[in-house]
Point group: C2
Amino acid sequence: MLHDATKALARGKSFAALTTLFEDGSPQTNLMWVDADDDHVLINTEVHRQKYRNLTRDPRVTVAIFDPVNPYHYVEVRGRVVGEVRGEQARAHIDQLSTKYTGGPYAMPITSERVIVKIAPERERSQ
Amino acid sequence: MLHDATKALARGKSFAALTTLFEDGSPQTNLMWVDADDDHVLINTEVHRQKYRNLTRDPRVTVAIFDPVNPYHYVEVRGRVVGEVRGEQARAHIDQLSTKYTGGPYAMPITSERVIVKIAPERERSQ
């Protein structure tokens, strides 16, 4: 279960610094939109992206979630990718995220296929 | 050499999502103040911190640098820790950073010893 404060932060207009690991073990970080269900941090990406290829090979990720209005307060969720959702549900979720951040449906081209990535927390650290 | 745009971003009131690697290879991310000299991204921390212990063991780090005013634009600098500076110079540098971000000298207690960490870029990615 995610802490309530983490869920609230992830469901607001916050950004996530998502870090995945390359095959050689070195890290890669992307700033992304973010969401949460009751038990997971949710990220929505496309299946051709490097970060997706990384996290399917090594499920160990960390997500620093912050509201740009006050980046001094953030929550780092260290955990593992434990599931994914593709298809219509992932396509609908990116529209839902876009509406949260921009006020309208997702307007960027979709190159491959959207996927919701579910991250289960192992450690949550607030600052 | 850092790209000019990266230097400008790191020298502004930007934040860095610094990711280091634990001994087991899993990642840790901290949001931090940031700076740059001509050749390196500069981070100022204390020597007792987990991130410092991590980066002295494994010098592979990545830094996503963003201005909170527009987190859609950021630069990810993947690279290696190639040097550090302690002592008076590191103490003066945290005052300089504090002045950039808050308008005044560093007012938080110093638990151990300040250290400037120098990160040499291997790949810079703008978004």
